[in-house]
């Protein structure tokens, strides 16, 4: 008898507003001196009061619209009360009974499965604890430090229905969600830097039986980590049930170095957050006018963009990859303006370009090669100025220097040789230098032909036009 898996995700995205959710401090806190990006409001100093950043609400509404949610005309903030040193007021201002949006859905790009969105709400981020030990973990620390630079940064929490039946579906969803918030321009969705965070609820049960006990998973800081953690947890639970054990309702922490989940706290310590309406803030009213103005200002979303890319002549799979990161899609579209063959541009981006970026650890928008330069490089191939092979070399130099391809070709003397007599001379030299090869070709070893082409190319440092080389060789041999 098989097992079925049920997974739901809770995703937090930091919003790219200029200022924090309830004060004027910047949201750009990464790398700043601890506790310098703060004010009385986000420090929760006595007497301070929150004032809602309207931009954050607008961003949350954008997300709710993109996720096909029902938008509620009236919602309000609540206080979620709990003690923790990273929470300066000892309560988090969040939403509770009435979120910004609810009952939405998202269609997965590959499996085309529809995943339900339970709710999306707005809340504030907490500060960060630093445990000054080698491991950086609290259990080894004799004291901890707290940095409130992040406190009050706006977050949206997006809660999915438990609609995933496998870890890979969950990952697919998360990638699509990231792409959506990127395309909306409301979050950069960077999991490594924590601007996108994901918790999961996982349970397994025997086929045909009722739902199993839910375990909450935390601390997955990449797409890979999410999938690994879910796979581990699903297996752990199945093993446990098979061996006659019982899954405990608890929170578990994914340890990336140990590649396993560790129990964090059990149900018996479940907290009572004593939610109540935040008296320092007014209710939020979203009228038709605001909603219409946001709707009329919605950018293109990944699903549509994929379709459009396909209609430009590239494969579905390539289109999907190009949309996973909005910046790649943007680059692609810009380059196509300079070189009309979308398929070639896509092949270059997904091939050599992403390879170089990975090696250099760069994002496409940070690359020295600008879209018009990539377009120009492909034009040089098309008009026969350089061969495809030389183009790879030119690209590599472009990637390192940011120079224009024309300049590199000229500087390095890489213009293709198309003059037949010049190539004929080289072919003859190669033939006389390789009598054995010629012999075995004539005896029927057809693949020796490519070896001879290669020798000619090598002798011309790759500059000879390979078609001309083939043509001449064919005749001479």
């Amino acid at each position: 008898m098989g097992y079925e898996t049920v997974i739901g995700l809770e995703v937090h995205c930091q919003l790219l507003t200029d200022s924090k959710l309830f004060c004027g401090c910047s949201t750009d806190y990464i790398g700043k001196e601890p506790n310098t990006n703060v004010c009385p409001v986000c420090l929760g100093l006595p007497g301070s009061l929150p004032v809602l950043n309207k931009k954050a609400l607008e961003f949350a509404l954008k997300a709710a619209i993109a996720l096909n949610c029902e938008i509620l005309p009236y919602s309000h903030f609540y206080r979620k009360n709990y003690f923790y040193p990273d929470l300066p007021k000892a309560y988090q201002i969040t939403q509770y009974d009435i979120p910004v949006g609810r009952h939405g859905w998202i269609e997965l790009p590959y499996s085309h499965k529809r995943i339900g969105i339970t709710r999306i709400h707005l809340e504030e981020d907490a500060g960060k604890l630093v445990h000054p030990t080698k491991t950086g973990r609290i259990e080894h620390a004799t004291y901890s430090l707290v940095d409130y630079n992040r406190a009050g940064v706006p977050l949206i929490e997006i809660v999915s229905e438990p609609d995933f039946s496998s870890p890979s579906e969950a990952r697919e969803y998360l990638m699509e969600l990231r792409s959506i918030v990127q395309h909306l321009g409301i979050s950069d969705g960077n999991m490594e830097l924590g601007s996108m965070r994901c918790d999961a609820n996982v349970s397994v049960h025997r086929e045909g039986e009722g739902l199993g006990v839910k375990v909450e998973l935390k601390n997955m800081n990449s797409f890979k980590a999410l999938e690994r953690a879910l796979n581990y947890e699903v297996e752990r639970q199945i093993k446990l049930i098979k061996s006659g054990g019982r899954v405990e309702q608890e929170t578990r922490h994914w340890s990336e170095p140990e590649k396993k989940t560790i129990s964090l706290r059990g149900k018996e310590e479940a907290q009572d957050y004593r939610y109540f309406p935040e008296p320092d803030l007014l209710p939020i009213y979203v009228d038709e006018e605001i909603l219409e103005s946001i709707k009329s200002d919605m950018p293109e979303l990944p699903a549509n963009r994929r379709k459009r890319f396909v209609s430009m002549g590239i494969g579905e799979k390539e289109a999907s990859i190009m949309v996973i990161e909005k910046s790649i899609g943007d680059y692609f579209e810009e380059a196509v303006k300079y070189f009309g063959d979308a398929k070639s541009i896509a092949n270059w981006i997904l091939g050599d370009f992403l390879g170089e970026l990975n090696r250099a650890g760069l994002e496409i928008q940070d690359s020295r090669v600008k879209p018009h330069q990539l377009g120009r490089l492909l034009t040089l191939i098309k008009d026969g100025t350089i061969s495809g092979k030389i183009a790879k070399k030119v690209f590599s130099i472009m990637f390192d220097t940011g120079d224009d391809p024309d300049e590199i070709v000229k500087r390095e003397g890489l213009v293709q040789i198309v003059d037949r007599s010049e190539i004929e001379k080289v072919v003859e030299e190669v033939l006389s230098a390789n009598p054995d090869a010629v012999e075995s070709y004539r005896k029927g070893k057809a693949n020796i032909f490519n070896f001879l082409v290669g020798q000619v190319m090598k002798a011309t440092k790759g500059k000879a036009n390979p078609n001309v080389v083939r043509d001449i060789l064919q005749k001479k041999i």
């Binding site: 009385p40 007497g47 301070s48 009061l49 009360n81 003690f83 109540f276």
Partner: protein, 485 residues
């Protein structure tokens, strides 16, 4: 007459005409502090030297021909729960000891821009929880009219300072009567504005949906002028109202014959003392002689106001006071096993008994399983009380009743019985629950302790109650029921 006995509007004029200097005014107040403070203990801290320096600066500028605001140089006392940049602020709690506010409350910004001089921070019930200023970690304040009596609370320090001449005017805060009841006990004027008229930014929260800053003054004219200074929309307080502040002080002498006066039917309910009932009846008589039609109005849900308040206020307080955990500011503990021990130690030693009681009540009523039965129900009752007022205000514009069921009671008399203490605010609490405006003005009779006359107005009905109380104040003077200091 000593300068410290005069109201601010008079001193302002005298300073402007050059009759007295700001230094003389400040010196007069400081000498009064010197004389009385040891017994009264109105202040947690007096800023004597700075106040004199500021006064010198003002005199210099005035001499140089500069036109200064009318209250420039007036010494103002500030309740120790309103943030003044660079100054300690304690809420009369041990837990905030050593905390220095890095910013000015909006009202402080406003009084500073008027060149008023902050003379000190006044004693109060810890975190404004109390009605006698006995719940202070820094000692009790005594009633200047009878030092065996309490000054009322929680703004007891502010009221006592104004009553004794240790300040010319003061700022207090009112969550359930904390401005009006001590004003009544000390025989001065206390004003609680409509919720949202005065910014709460920089007021250390007790119960956010009820708290409101207001003035404590020697007369109604000063109350109107102070309100004009501190009121107004503030972008730092989301709950502040987007209204233009009227020039209250220029409208005081306007005709009041159009204003319909109501008398709260329940003024002579059980527990209201004889002298208080007599005081109210005196007022009714004044209006009758003035040929003002006085109508009786009833409040069917009056008896639920107190229990409703004692659910909502502690609920909000339990959350507002959770931040005092020894992590960022105030008292802390150097060596603890873990964070829980830090919280426990700091909060156990830092909070007083009444604050702990209310935190526990508030935590309880918000707990899952109790929320609906207590907090949610209290919110519904709050709506009913609001409706009571709405109904009453169809027939009348202001409602008169007692500020407190009794005059000032003895120190220590009610500390053992919290309920008897809570009952002291039974007439003031409804205005906070409804978010409307109210004033207390004193009636002195036969050398007894004063009775507070409570005049409640509509939301943003400040001008009506100011006009009525100004007129009443004039009539009390006529009848010899008024007592300056």
């Amino acid at each position: 007459m000593e300068l410290f006995e005069l109201p601010a509007w008079k001193l302002g004029k005298m300073m402007e005409s050059g009759e007295v200097t700001a230094v003389e005014v400040v010196e007069s107040v400081l000498s009064r502090i010197e004389e009385r403070e040891e017994i009264l203990h109105c202040y947690n801290e007096v800023y004597g030297e700075e106040a004199l320096q500021e006064a010198e600066e003002i005199d210099k500028r005035r001499k140089g021909g500069e036109k200064l605001p009318p209250f420039a140089g007036i010494p103002v006392a500030v309740k120790d729960n309103i943030c003044v940049k660079g100054k300690d602020i304690t809420c009369s709690s041990k837990i905030l000891k050593g905390f220095i506010s890095p910013y000015d409350a909006t009202v402080i910004r406003k009084i500073k821009s008027q060149k008023m001089i902050i003379i000190g921070r006044t004693n109060m019930d810890e975190f404004a929880m109390g009605s006698s200023t006995e719940n202070s970690a820094y000692g009790v304040t005594r009633n200047p009219l009878d030092t065996s009596k309490v000054p009322g609370g929680s703004s007891g320090g502010s009221a006592a300072a104004v009553a004794s001449g240790e300040a010319i005017v003061a700022l207090g805060s009112d969550t359930g009567g904390s401005i009006r009841q001590p004003a009544a006990f000390c025989g001065v004027v206390g004003f609680k504005p409509t919720y949202g008229l005065v910014s709460r930014y920089g007021l250390i929260a007790f119960a956010s949906s009820l708290d409101q800053i207001g003035p404590i003054t020697k007369d109604v004219r000063d109350a109107a002028a102070m309100l004009e200074i501190i009121a107004g929309k503030d972008n730092y307080d989301s709950t502040s109202l987007p209204v233009k502040v009227p020039h209250y002080s220029t409208m005081l002498e306007d005709d009041i014959s159009e204003i319909r006066v109501g008398i709260m039917e329940e003024y002579n309910a059980e527990g209201v003392s004889e002298e208080v009932i007599e005081g109210i009846e005196e007022v009714i008589d004044i209006f009758r002689t003035m040929r003002v039609n006085v109508k009786s109005v009833s409040f069917p849900h009056m008896e639920y106001a107190l229990p409703c308040y004692y659910i909502i206020a502690p609920a909000e307080a339990s959350s507002n006071l959770a931040r005092y955990d020894g992590v960022q500011y105030g008292i802390s503990e150097e060596t603890v096993e873990d964070i829980r021990e830090l919280y426990r130690k700091v909060r156990t030693s830092g909070f007083g008994k009444e604050v702990k009681r209310r935190i526990m009540m508030g935590t309880y009523v918000l707990s899952s399983g109790y929320y609906d039965a207590f907090y949610l129900k209290a919110q519904k009752v709050r709506t009913l009380i609001r409706h009571d007022f709405e109904r009453a205000f169809k027939d009348v514009d202001v409602i008169i009743g007692p500020t407190s069921p009794t005059v000032a009671f003895g120190i220590g008399e009610r500390t053992a019985d919290p309920i008897s203490m809570y009952l002291s605010d039974i007439f003031t609490i409804p205005a906070n629950l409804a978010g409307i405006s109210a004033i207390s003005i004193p009636l002195f009779k036969d050398g007894n302790l004063p009775v507070g006359i409570h005049i409640v107005g509509k939301a943003l009905g400040e001008i009506d109650i100011l006009k009525v109380s100004y007129k009443l104040e004039q009539e009390l003077k006529e009848r010899g029921l008024y007592h300056g200091i």
